[in-house]
Symmetry: none
Subunit: 236 residues, 2 copies
DNA sequence: CAATTAGTGCCAAATTTTGGCACTAATTCA
DNA sequence: TGAATTAGTGCCAAAATTTGGCACTAATTG
């Protein structure tokens, strides 16, 4: 394998694994420890910030905020691609996600590191995680993407979700509900929840929810109501 | 000078001069004619479209449409990016979709057109369209993506959808319904429909639907039932 | 202290790149 | 038509680069 490809692979591997030892990387890319060390050196010359730690439990680590390269796309364009690829990767089960990542890694390397840092930070804030299969960020509309992590935790950990809700009349109420499902009535998204204080199901427009947070102490159960094939709608 | 740098210089030079002979380029980058020919060959492999013309007054020329990018991505990588961007574009209402598209267009232009044609064709077959805001292909699970176009048309054109449905007991029935919404009860997706023959709402698991097709003659209206903020769930 | 891990310097072997050469094919122009 | 020009290919040996192995140092952990 040529040095360039190998170095690309190393970057991807490091990005994925977080921390790795030189020996492990060497085995992974099928090269000697010495060669990997040289590659790391080359990557550093290109501007990658790679932290290292000797001793047991040590290894090297790619500074997530550092990136560099050769492609000539505008920052905005790279940003857009970042979002695309991240959302696909978040979906998880597509075989091409890895390739898209590799392609994107090449592009990312072309940008000044401070701009990439800004992009990455914004992307983290924008949040595309395991929730994606349930909620597509592209469709969040007016909702602030920064609020999504709370939704993810609530769904995955089955924790109560607390938020402020502004109804159609503009009245704001505080809610604490069990998030049960997402209902999509294009173009709007609704959070379908069991409201224990009202002892009833309620539907909330996603873009009218503010300041959501999880209530870690309380865990709820899925209300698996039955449809005609075994599952029913959760509305009464 | 290493091959990579030299090739970058060649691209820049061609971009500046428009047309140049191999011999002139060789002199400019300080390499032999043979080497420059090899570099040109490599650049073409990487996707640069380079026209050539033998004879007096001839020379080589970068395809003006490939002038826009220097990103060096493999065909497979571009393919993966295509899928990412297409799925995002399909989502429709993101401000970045256009940018991602533009960025990708630059990359595409660097590829030989026949390869792009193949990719595009495959992508069309894979299908990622306007339905995506309602159905994320990554989450279709057991459902055949090839069936999706019928869903899209039905939703967008408000046509009746006809399909075979296999219920929990394995019984197969023929249905003809008004698709009203998608309901996501992770990890399953349901099609929420008004069934006119039963005069009632019915929920269908997406992965149990087979052979869907639109009924073009009949158009239905959205059954905009009200939630507590103005829209209610469409289930009874 | 022993074990572990990053990192360096050096050298010979392995691999890749290069230049030169002879050649073909296409095009221009007189 | 023929001479000149220019892209492009195949081949080979020389040149350059990359690689792996080795012995080493430095830092860290327990």
């Amino acid at each position: 394998m040529n040095p360039r490809q190998r170095q690309d692979r190393l970057v991807r591997s490091l990005r994925r694994s977080g921390t790795a030892t030189i020996a492990a990387l060497a085995q992974e890319v099928g090269a000697s420890r010495r060669t990997v060390l040289r590659d790391i050196c080359a990557l550093r010359d290109e501007g990658f910030v790679i932290h290292s730690e000797p001793g047991p439990g040590g290894g090297i680590q790619l500074d997530p905020q550092s990136l560099q390269t050769t492609a000539r796309l505008s920052v905005a364009e790279v940003f857009a691609l970042l979002i695309s690829v991240a959302s696909m990767r978040a979906a998880g089960n597509l075989p091409f996600a890895g390739l898209a990542d590799a392609g994107l890694a090449k592009i990312e390397k072309a940008l000044p590191s401070d701009k990439i840092r800004d992009l990455r930070r914004f992307l983290d804030c924008l949040y595309i995680g395991p929730l994606a299969p349930q909620v597509n960020i592209a469709d969040m509309g007016a909702m602030d993407p920064a609020l999504l992590p709370a939704f993810e935790t609530a769904f995955l950990e089955r924790q109560y979700l607390r938020f402020q809700y502004r109804d159609a009349k503009g009245a704001v109420t505080q809610r604490e509900v069990e998030p049960q499902a997402m209902l999509i009535l294009p173009p709007l998204w609704y959070l379908v929840s069991w409201d224990p204080t009202r002892n009833d199901f309620r539907h909330f427009r996603m873009d009218r929810i503010a300041d959501p947070s999880c209530v870690a102490e309380r865990v709820f159960r899925r209300r698996h109501v039955q449809f005609d094939d075994g599952v029913r709608p959760i509305t009464k």
